[in-house]
Symmetry: C5
């Protein structure tokens, strides 16, 4: 019955997990703290032009070197990062060593960079974990070169690039007709579109939380609101800098970007702005909801107080009359009267009824 017990027994531990706070507050961009090497690196190359498509699974890093300068567009996807592998590739493909550091380090803020003939984007793919109801993020690095796109991912088990793989197999797809910059656009577009899917699921959770707050404003619903607020922090932290990232690409006058493709990046920019606006709306609704919660808690307390006040009032006549006629005086008027008792009890009952009627009129309940 004490609030602590509520928390321990009724609230799923995930809602009050301070571990989530810990994850969100993580602060480790120091250069020397890099991710531990993945157990194995899986390198897939798609080498294509309008006419041909070759998909190869590479066994060793150095096999990728051939794809740097051939006439076709190459997408080299590295899943699972090992320091030595990334540095080898970086060296060969002319990637600045600071960017290699960024690729290898964790918890980076999304950013883009244009350096020595390559364009570098670092951002997070977001997934919604349906079990833990948490927004998960996986860092992805995209390096756009003359005729190639390198992508570095941590977790080989999932990414959001499957539609690209499908479209590559389609010789008539626009992806096959265009260059590496269009491939890069498609990637950013898919990542940003995926934000909306995550937001939709969060939106569902917000709706559920609102329903719960309306039905039953207890600690559990506050915990849920608090939990959702943390997830919104994760969301916003990813969306806001991606806006700058894509804005940076549009403003950059890199030779890597075809004029025709700028139009497409502007389209992604519109989407990310919309995502940003929407996340602001989410925040506003969360605030409304918290106000509603606080009000409901207060209303419940008011109810309890009201019942107490009414009971106290209704008891008052009985207490007073009982006290009056319970006194041990020799001379008590009506004490010997046959109807005295009934009159007294009658008053005890009628006065409260009169009070109830009066309270009702005042709109107390």
């Amino acid at each position: 019955m004490s609030p602590e017990k509520y928390l321990r027994y009724l609230v799923p531990s995930v809602l009050f997990g301070t571990q989530r706070t810990k994850q969100i507050l993580q602060a480790t961009p120091s250069d020397d703290i890099t991710r531990t090497d993945a157990e194995r690196t899986q390198i897939t190359v798609y080498n294509y032009d309008a006419a041909n498509l070759h998909q190869t699974e590479l066994k060793a890093v150095h096999e990728s070197f051939d794809f740097r300068d051939n006439d076709q567009v190459s997408w080299i996807n590295i899943d699972g990062l090992r320091k030595s592998d990334v540095e080898t590739i970086g060296l060969h493909f002319g990637i600045h060593h600071l960017i290699i550091e960024d690729i290898l380090s964790l918890h980076q803020r999304p950013k883009m960079d244009e350096v020595e003939g390559t364009l570098y984007c670092l951002l997070n793919m977001l997934y919604y974990n349906d079990k833990q109801h948490a927004v998960e993020q996986e860092q992805v690095s995209i390096v756009l070169g003359k005729n190639f796109v390198l992508t570095f991912q941590e977790d080989p088990s999932r990414d959001v690039f499957d539609p690209i793989r499908d479209k590559l197999r389609l010789a008539t797809s626009k992806l096959r007709q265009r260059g590496a910059d269009y491939l890069c656009y498609t990637m950013l577009d898919l990542i940003v579109d995926n934000y909306f899917i995550v937001m939709e699921k969060l939106g569902d959770r917000i709706e559920h939380a609102e329903e719960e707050v309306i039905r039953n404003s207890n600690t559990r619903s506050l915990a849920r609101i608090n939990y959702l607020r943390k997830e919104l922090i994760v969301l916003k932290r990813n969306i806001a800098p991606v806006r700058d990232l894509i804005g940076g690409i549009i403003r950059s006058e890199s030779e890597l970007l075809d004029d025709r493709t700028t139009k497409y990046f502007k389209d992604v920019y519109d989407h990310i702005i919309q995502a940003y606006d929407l996340s602001e709306n989410y925040r506003d609704i969360m605030i409304s909801m918290q106000d509603l919660y606080v009000n409901n808690v207060n209303l419940k307390m008011n109810e309890v107080m009201k019942v107490m006040a009414i009971v106290t009032c209704l008891m008052a006549p009985a207490t007073v009359i009982g006290g009056v006629f319970g006194m041990n005086f020799d001379v008590i008027p009506t004490a010997h009267n046959q109807w005295g008792f009934y009159t007294a009890v009658g008053a005890m009952l009628l006065i409260p009824v009169a009070m109830l009627v009066m309270f009702k009129r005042r709109g107390w309940f």
Copy 2:
């Protein structure tokens, strides 16, 4: 009497509808989620210059092709969107395929775009649903070309363009004297003016809510405030980007826009700025109102507490005196006295009266 019951029985379900939250949180700008095709497309063409006006109802999409390059201004209005139709028209009128995607997808953020000799505006017409007291939005796409304006609407049953139809019939109207850019201006002007009508109705609701909060601060009025806050989110989400949209048109140096027309777009810009300021005022008043609500709820609770405190105090003498003379001691002073009982009861009555006088002086009620 429990707060949940209040909500279930007294509050119209629309006020606490989490469906509304769902609608507002909708997040689906992904390219592949397009609107389901309308059952039928209705294409109306107004072909006019200062001297002549031809109004035609087209049976098939390809009939519109003739109106692209003739010397008169053509307004081609497409109500009810079908993917194939829109793509056919787009192809013929030289609309970029990304813009066609925007026309076909839902829940887009208002925006303008200037591409390959056409100027594209996407925004929402707002309607106030008097039954559900909700702000409804319908996406409209306006494509301004050399001598034509294409408009794409979803819902054939309503739009805000009737005044245009009236003015077109008037040979002396300015609309007939001027080109396609002036037609485009008139459309934006009507859409923005319609925002004020919606805002006026919302303003009425805010006024009603305020009255209710003053008269009777119960859960219902909080629900109303909450509901209105959500509608304000819809409003602001539409107004803010339209400001950028029209600002973009003014800054654009498109050849499609006559210098004389810029002045008119500046006028619309003034209006949308005013709408934005007004929506800020709405927000401020909502906040004031919520403060008032919270205060009223607290005052009510204070009243209840006060009554309880007073009753407790007034009962105290009777309880104490009754307790004293109700004890079963052999020797009780004044017990055998003839006026003992009357003295005791007198004290029971007089002390509370004295207390009441004192409370009154302290300004307790």
Copy 3:
């Protein structure tokens, strides 16, 4: 005693008037909703240079035409607007028809415009209504031309331009030495200075409200705070865009403005900035005041609770002891003792006194 009654009987209806909310939320800039024509138009012309001053009351609109191109500066003031009159004047003085629409429509946002050789300012004169304690606004349009200034006012009974009339009669005044731009500056200066007078009166009200909150924090004082917040909205809504308006004049490189006059407009700009800062200070003080109010209400409640708690505690011994010795057992110790009753009553009195001393030490009251 119920909060509603407080509102109905004690609070002057003006404080809780939702009409005021309605006025503030008014939203009608649509072109077709123009002010109803005034019953009569009153046109006054001041035609002057350093040497001469002619003041004429015109009978008909067309008489003003002569003042357009003569060498002297003309101030043509139109009080009470009729559509036809304004359009006639506008046509002759070369005013763009969009500006004529602005002159004729109500509730416009303050703005300036430079078009076809005239400079147009629309803003509000503010008056403080001492009876209703409301900030009233009257729209004034100022059109600055080569050698003339046109002013359009709605209400002939009042304006803030009397000091101009006085100074015009003074041949040595700077106003008489300078051109139309200096006249225009003097007008804006007077309007802005008048804002300070209105703010000073509002400041008095704020001070009164604060005094009331300190003396007696009841619903009435909250109503007052709420009411003042609405007036501040009116104030800010006028001041913020006037800042942009005057900034726009300073930045404009219109040939109508003499270089020497720019300095004077900068002076007005300093004043409006100061007015803006001051209105921010007002807001901060209002927030402080509301916090103070909420705290005082809580303190009052705490007082009530405290008294109740103390009475409950003090009654406890009497209740318990009375209960103990009121039981009908055969064997009750000290029941037959001569001093039993006195001991029991003594305990009933002494224990509460001891409790009071203890409470006092704990700082409970």
Copy 4:
């Protein structure tokens, strides 16, 4: 015991003075409201170069005219302003008449202006009144000309320029080596440094207030917080525009400012930025403090409620048992038993003890 009495008797009137609010809300920049003439004007001139220093007390305004064009730097300080004097000086030293108006009017917003070969700064010196614990301000006008600096002060009894007087007497001081612009810099530097002294004293007050809030959260401490918030408004109102003022000097490319001196103005700029940041920190700490206050008030109330709840609970068994055995039935079990009374009283005592143990375990106190 009522809150009003607290305010009247316990709180020093200065804390709840609405006069202070009046002073802060003062709004009078209208041109016609000038300060009443000082009783006497005191003019002091320091005329110096690296080699010589002449300090003269002038008897009449016109004596200052000689110092305008000589080769040495002249600092002419006018204490106590009379309209005629200021206008005479202004005319001779070529000061624009709008600036003369600014010098003569009160409650101006700090600003700088560069006009007709002079650079004009208006700002406030701040003093901390140790008795009233209020931030006082005195307007000072600084006019920098080719070879002279004019300063206009209201109050002859105090200023912050004593260090300048000391350094002027030192032939080796940098002040003596440099021109009038360095003198102007030194003045601004001293004024801004003085802000820090005022802030330090305010910081002490904030610290005291915090200590009081922690020790004893009563109305007095809220009054103190409220009072300090008003002083912070005064502070910020002065600091923010001085930042713009000094920024304006740095950006201005006036010939009056030696390139070498810019470096020094940048130093003052760093200081004023720091003062601004610090005032923001003050505000944050005030907000924290208010939250702490509200919480402490609530905790106190919780304590009272808890005691009341516990007393009510502990009394319950005695009330019930006393009620049971106080009933006048013929047959009451154990009524004739010798230990009946003791058993009943024992239950009356033991049950509350058991309850206390249970409450303790639940962490209620």
Copy 5:
């Protein structure tokens, strides 16, 4: 039991220390208040190029003069500042005397300056004091010249530059290959990276505080929140201006900075932006936590109220029935009945049980 006692006895004095407030509110950038001279100055010189490294401990200040103009890069680190020493070095190395003042004065806002061929950075190294749980700051001044870097620190016992010393010993390190600008970059990078370490520790404290708030919302946890908010002020006060500082370096087109090094400064810039974002997240989480705290305190109070209400209700039947049958009337029905007492007591017990069942159904506990 009174809240003051909680604070005095239970809360570690450091949590409620107003001393911390005093430290944070410190305001002393006046030129004349300089730090007291350190007891001894310790000067260490690293003189290096790709081939050689000489590390020297200097005995006197003038020995450092040789390192100004030799071809190798020199890092001259001065630990413990004495006015005369700093001025001597400043004079020889051509440091502007205003910068020397900055080096010598305390509590400066972080800033950078480019003057007379040197680039000056003043910022704070932050340390987390594990005992006092406070963020400590130590001012460090970095002067970058043609071939040298001068660093001035206050406290010789600690700094964050050890990794530099290690890398200098490594002939193959990039630090040895590059010039003085790279050395300067490395310093800023280490200082900023150290901010993350401090933030991580603060993050741990926030997590602990959150856990405590969830487990046990008492005054102690509020004190902790309040304390952490102050530390966040210190953090933000340092991070925000360092962002400007590094941005200033990137924008500066100083000849001291090699084009290749700009890339590295951009990397530091990314880090400091990330630190800034993170500190915003910290703030958001603190606000969530405070809301949670306030809610938990209210819930506890609700619990107490509920128990009191329930006890009051349960006692009511016994009080009323006891009152009824305790009256001394001659005729009391059932008084002589054998089962009267049992019936009355039964009612006393059964009615509360029925009430409990009803309350349970209403969801009261």
